[in-house]
Structure formats: C-alpha cells, structure tokens
Amino acid sequence: MPRPYETVIIFDSTLEDAQVQEKLQRLTGLVAPDGGDAVNVDVWGKRKLAYPIDKKEQGIYAVLRYETEPSALIEFERVMRLDEQVLRQLTVVDPIVPAPPVARAPRPAEEEE
C-alpha cells in the first residue's frame, strides 16, 4: 500500500537551475512511475547552510511530497546517496494529519534518516 512521504534534498549550490530540474525529474520518476506527475515539488532555491557540509556554505533546497510504495524508496535513496551533488537527503513519512482522529487515533509514524 502506498504511503505519503516527504523528502528534503539539498543540492550543491553550484548547479544550474536546469541541472537541478533534470535531477529532480529523474528522482521523481523513481517514486512515481508515471513520470513524476504525482509528485509535488517545491524548490526553495539557494540558501545558506547553518553549518558547512562538505566545505560548502550554501545549498539548493528542494522538498518533494508524494505517495509511493515503501519499496520504491530503496532505489530512490540509493541513487541520491551515490550523487555527490546531493549534500543531504531526508525522507520522512509525510506528517500531514490524517483524517480527524477516530476513537483510537494512530500516532503519525516516524521517519528514518
């Protein structure tokens, strides 16, 4: 059963907008087989990092929200880890509040790094 996820990715700030788009497109394709249309992509743009990562002071932030099978995340995260221009990636189960609490409201499930 698909579950809602949210992924934050920090790209190297030296990437051009087009390159970021290209990478995002490839990544979204991995979690949404139909070419990534079902993925809500929010690119924050360049932002100063609170501390240097790989000696870099800036990063390009992108937030993806989507629903996918948990099994799809394995390849998705693997590809990001292999990409040296991805400084950070964090995928969590989307905290959107599910339908109003029923008798026994399920606690929002927690993340993995």
Binding site: L49, A50, Y51, I53, V63, R88, V92, P95
Partner: protein, 73 residues
C-alpha cells in the same frame, strides 16, 4: 513574592503542527548554544516536546539550524 504566569504549551495553544522545516520555530525552542530548551523552561507539554525534539534534530541534519552556533565553533 513573584507572580508567575502559568506556562502553557505553545503548540497546544496555537494548534500549529510542528514542522522541522520551519527554522524560526525551531530557533525559538533552542537556546543560544543550540540546545533544545527543557520543558520546564519552554512550558511545552510532553507530547509536543517529543515532537519538537524530533523536529529540532531533523532541522539540524538539514542544516536549517546549527548543531553548534558559529560563535562557539
């Protein structure tokens, strides 16, 4: 005797969800050394404190807030 205002949990009061992407929020609940404020200081309830500490840690990982502020590094 000093009158003390009864502390209420900010999140119970305002009904806002705790989001690790909002660094201003996380900032408010960490001290100037970047440490998470204890409940006795912030007045946060147990449930929200748990969510908050999780959010702060995620925020740190994503370099939205520092593990250690610059002036101490």
């Amino acid at each position: 005797m000093v009158m003390q205002r009864r502390k209420v949990c900010h999140f119970c009061e305002s009904k806002v969800a705790i989001d690790y992407k909002e660094e201003h929020l996380l900032d408010r609940f960490t001290n100037d050394r970047g440490k998470i404020l204890p409940r006795r200081v912030s007045g946060t309830c147990a449930r929200h404190q748990r969510q908050l500490s999780q959010a702060v840690k995620r925020g740190r990982f994503l370099a939205l807030i520092p593990y250690i502020p610059d002036h101490q590094r």
